[in-house]
């Protein structure tokens, strides 16, 4: 039921590979802590790979938004990679699809960061 996060660096961008559920409680807190830690270390260009995120609730959506604004407030960028259909649909319903920079291709996503 919980979420797993693994971190890797590609060309100056930190990629968080998320899998599982981002929901109230564990998943949302894990994501918040991971992003806070990165920003605290000065890693401000973050790509969240959501390919293996099969479920996200309103708390998880809120956490994505908070992570996005936290990165932006520190002069960085947070982008989303490879949304599942369910997550894609939820971001459309909530009008967040236009807020986030969403990519399907990892190399293209990495190249799109301006601060690398």
């Amino acid at each position: 039921m919980s979420m797993k996060i693994s971190t890797r660096q590609v060309d100056g961008v930190t990629i968080l590979d998320l899998s599982g559920r981002i929901t109230l409680g564990e998943g949302s807190v894990q994501l918040r802590n991971a992003v806070r830690e990165l920003l605290g270390k000065g890693s401000k260009d973050i790509l969240l790979n959501l390919a293996d995120v099969n479920y996200i609730d309103s708390s998880g959506i809120g956490e994505l938004v908070s992570a996005f604004t936290a990165a932006r407030n520190q002069g960085g960028e947070l982008k989303l990679l490879k949304l599942t259909k369910k997550v894609h649909d939820l971001l459309q319903i909530t009008k967040l699809y236009t807020v986030f920079d969403i990519k399907d291709d990892e190399a293209e996503a990495i190249a799109s960061f301006s601060h690398k």
Partner: protein, 142 residues
């Protein structure tokens, strides 16, 4: 044939998960397809989160109740808490430009997006949310 079951549960995340599982079982037994099952399950989960988090504020002295009913033409799910009461008219619009980057406030919106009917009732104390999903002709016979 009407089928109905209900739970009275602690104000915890475990309860939210239990209510979510019950909603998924109801949806599957009632013949909803995968997308409809996802939508119903998510709406019920959001209602349970509201009851536990915003209604009862995780108070161990307060309970939530969840009832599930298939009356042959609709699925009716009622989630209630013992909190201060929720006035839906006071909820900000999460799609408004000034709220778009808010870190919260999308739960009720998603419930309304996914259900055919949503009703609020003040219980003094608490709030009862009634979520209704109409069944089509094939699902009615499921």
């Amino acid at each position: 044939m009407v089928s109905r079951f209900s739970y009275t549960l602690d104000s915890s995340l475990d309860s939210v998960n239990k209510v979510e599982e019950a909603a998924e079982q109801l949806a599957q037994k009632s013949g909803l397809d995968e997308d409809q099952t996802f939508q119903l399950t998510m709406a019920v989960r959001e209602a349970a989160v509201n009851a536990v988090l915003h209604g009862n504020a995780y108070d161990p002295e307060k309970k939530i109740t969840a009832s599930f009913e298939n009356n042959g033409s609709s699925l009716i799910i009622r989630i209630s808490d013992q909190g201060n009461g929720l006035d839906p008219a006071t909820l900000p619009d999460p799609l408004a430009p000034e709220n778009l980057l808010s870190g919260s406030g999308r739960g009720i919106f998603l419930i309304r997006s996914f259900m055919d009917e949503v009703h609020f009732k003040l219980l003094h104390p608490g709030t009862e949310l009634t979520l209704v999903k109409h069944l089509d002709s094939t699902q009615k016979s499921a």
